[in-house]
């Protein structure tokens, strides 16, 4: 049996997940010029939110998704005004330490509240599948892909056609010009940080039925998201989508076609990223960033 269609389908589904995982980070950096190192913990909080709503109240993760996205946005808004706004003009090392510290604090609170036990949500679609031609489609992954497409499409539509979205792009492009045009930059910053956190929480909700939930799940995802954002080009949403697809295809095809490929997949994917960055240091669609 030809495994190419299966590998291709798995890569596409994984790419959707990776896009959702990285797009919030990309938006946050594009507008605020801050890499939020607590982004992984936002994913973790989304996953726990979905888990507890599913376990205690029987709420399907897809039903809890809008509710948790709003909660994620509120958390981001509060974090921005309470903490992040104070370091906007500080050196990058201060910003990194601050967001890293927020992430660590959230992680440790999660350990205290929920222990280090591994968990997962188990809606029916998490463990069922359909066969289309020669391709096996796991319903949980298809659902996650669909949710990711909807969320990313909504983000792009907001940036493209809404007034606040256009203002956000203006701030990302040239902060000083945006100020001169009368845009409330601080409000846009708060909005962007909130949306960025909401997207991470959404990622957590969809991975809650695919991956294993623990307080430590955020950091490996953050590393992958940063790699995708760098590969695609810092601050470029389209670049992030391309970066996610590049990483997902590299990992999946190495896993399928090399002996013990699963073990090599991440390593080779990151070698590929290094190779691309050597040729094009700004990433696939990145522009020069003034810091």
């Amino acid at each position: 049996m030809d495994i190419f269609p299966q590998a291709f389908s798995d890569a596409i589904l994984l790419a959707g997940l990776y896009t959702l995982m990285a797009v919030g980070l990309s938006l946050g950096f594009g507008v605020l010029r801050i890499i939020n190192f607590a982004q992984g913990e936002m994913i973790m909080l989304g996953a726990y939110g979905a888990f507890w709503l599913f376990t205690l109240m029987g709420v399907d993760p897809l039903i809890s998704l809008p509710l948790l996205v709003v909660a994620g946005f509120a958390l981001g808004w509060v974090l921005f005004h309470g903490v992040v706004a104070k370091v906007l003009d500080a050196p990058h090392i201060n910003q990194i330490l601050l967001t890293f510290g927020i992430g660590l604090a959230i992680q440790h609170v999660a350990i205290i509240l929920w222990t280090g036990n591994a968990r997962s949500t188990t809606p029916d679609y998490a463990t069922t599948s359909s066969v289309v031609g020669d391709v096996l489609l796991v319903h949980g992954r298809v659902t996650a892909f669909a949710a990711a497409v909807v969320m990313v499409a909504a983000l792009i539509a907001w940036l493209q056609w809404s007034e606040t979205g256009r203002a956000t792009r203006a701030v990302a492009e040239n902060r000083s010009a945006a100020v001169l045009m009368g845009i409330d930059v601080n409000r846009i910053y708060a909005l962007s940080f909130g949306v960025s956190c909401a997207l991470s929480v959404a990622t957590g909700v969809v991975v809650s039925f695919i991956l294993t939930i623990t307080p430590f799940m955020g950091f490996p995802m953050l590393v992958k998201a940063i790699a995708i954002v760098i590969l695609g080009g810092l601050g470029s949403i389209a670049g992030t989508v391309l970066g996610a697809f590049a990483l997902a295809f590299a990992e999946t095809f190495v896993s399928y076609y090399l002996p013990e490929g699963s073990g090599w997949a991440e390593g080779i994917a990151f070698v590929l990223i290094i190779g691309i960055l050597l040729v094009r240091p700004r990433g696939i669609l990145g522009q020069a960033v003034e810091t």
Binding site: M1, L14, A118, S120, G263
Partner: protein, 418 residues
């Protein structure tokens, strides 16, 4: 006058001090205590194991007080619980403090294999190291690190016992003319298990058709599962740690592999795996030292401390409103054994305790407490493992059918529904 007066005063002083000293002798004896150092992971990633260990020790001391009274050989029982925070560096500090500052008589613990391995060097380097019972760590790396040390008593199964028992159970149920696909993770757990899993599978005569590494924490195991599907094995044998086992179990269910027998190691006994995978747990086999429903008899000499496994399980369930976990029973049995050792020898002397532990044999809820040599270690007990299969009962709850060894079996190995 002054001299005479001084003599009188001096004599009085000596008499007073002598009297005080004499009066103080029984007082000091009464204050003497038997100290157990208990490194447990009360926070961090091994917190679930730490909670089990603590509860096991506390219940053992409580049971001792109920059956034998508050003291052991005239000594107060003092347990010093210290939190490893699931952190190797902190575990090293704790072991040093137990031995050099607290001067404990016995150490029981710690729990997860990582922190247990970290505890070895600080204990091993000290000449005056106390007796150490380890009812937690299973990695044979620990065994190699400790070596044939006379003061180390391992009271849990080493990792290779899992595969020895698993393979024997499979061979007994299915014969060895079967194809096996082995998946192992590239983390510490998989690496510690894979060589022995491979060895026992091949030595038994099974056909190992796939021997594949999976990435720990991978986002997608479908590529690996596609390779399993292509080899059409009769048995899928998994050696991965719990986090990956959860994701893999769900993906295996979704992938419709049609593999008749799904074999796990430690994860199938853990409530966190069972809760996280839901219906996908059905049909998986696991291997453990303890599973509810064991039928070991009570000890003839100490039925109050070591009742039958069924009675002990009943006692525990009534007390905590939960079935006992494998570490709880292991820590319980280990603690009772140290208390019996102190009482029998009327001493906390390391040599006397060691000699007594080497000779004792009780029938505990976890099986025989007799120590034997393992591959490297001088003292190994409770290595008898039970192989079980998860099932869904008619009332919708999940349970385990005991498959192996034959004397504890409550059912036969069943193939998974395709």
């Amino acid at each position: 006058m002054r001299l005479g007066g001084s003599r009188t005063a001096f004599g009085s002083l000596v008499a007073l001090l002598g009297a005080a000293a004499l009066a103080g002798v029984p007082s000091a004896q009464a204050q003497e205590s038997f100290k157990i150092g208990a490194p447990v992971s009360s926070s961090g990633r091994y917190v679930a194991y730490g909670a089990q260990g603590k509860k096991g020790i506390e219940t053992a001391v409580e049971m001792w007080r109920k059956v034998r009274g508050d003291k052991v050989a005239g000594r107060q029982i003092e347990v010093l619980f210290r939190d490893t925070q699931s952190n190797n560096a902190i575990t090293v500090s704790l072991m040093n403090a137990f031995i050099q500052t607290d001067k404990v008589d016995v150490i029981i613990g710690p729990d997860g294999s990582n922190v247990a391995a970290a505890a070895v060097p600080p204990w091993k380097k000290l000449e005056n190291r106390p007796i150490w019972l380890m009812p937690g760590g299973s990695s044979d790396v620990i065994e190699r690190e400790v070596g044939p040390d006379p003061y180390f008593f391992h009271t849990y199964a080493w990792s290779y016992y899992y595969h020895d028992n698993n393979v024997k159970a499979l061979a007994a149920a299915l014969g060895t003319k079967k194809k096996v696909a082995l998946l192992y993770s590239d983390g510490a757990y998989g690496r510690a298990h894979v060589d022995d899993a491979r060895k026992y599978i091949k030595d038994a005569g099974f056909d190992l058709v796939l021997d594949e590494l999976v990435r720990e924490g991978s986002s997608d195991y479908n590529p690996t599962l596609a390779k399993v599907r292509a080899r059409r094995p009769d048995i899928l044998y998994l050696a991965v740690q719990t986090n990956d086992a959860i994701q893999l179990t769900k993906q295996i269910q979704a992938a419709r592999l049609n593999v008749p027998y799904l074999v796990g190691t430690a994860q199938a006994q853990l409530p966190e795996w069972q809760d996280a995978v839901g219906d996908a747990q059905v049909c998986w086999t696991g291997v453990t030292t303890w599973v509810p429903g064991l039928r070991y008899p009570a000890d003839a000499k100490e039925p109050g401390l070591f009742p039958s496994a069924a009675d002990w399980e009943k006692m525990w369930t009534a007390k905590y409103n939960a079935v006992p976990e494998f570490l709880e029973v292991g820590y319980y049995a280990s603690t009772i054994m140290t208390l019996l050792a102190v009482e029998a020898t009327n001493s906390t002397d390391r040599e006397k305790l060691k000699e007594w532990l080497e000779k004792q044999e009780y029938q505990t809820p976890l099986g025989s407490s007799k120590f034997e040599k393992s591959r490297v270690a001088m003292h190994q007990a409770f290595g008898t493992m039970v192989v079980f299969q998860r099932e869904k009962k008619p009332d919708g709850t999940f349970g385990s059918v005991l498959l192996y060894p034959e004397q504890v079996a409550t059912g036969k190995l069943k193939p998974c529904a395709s």
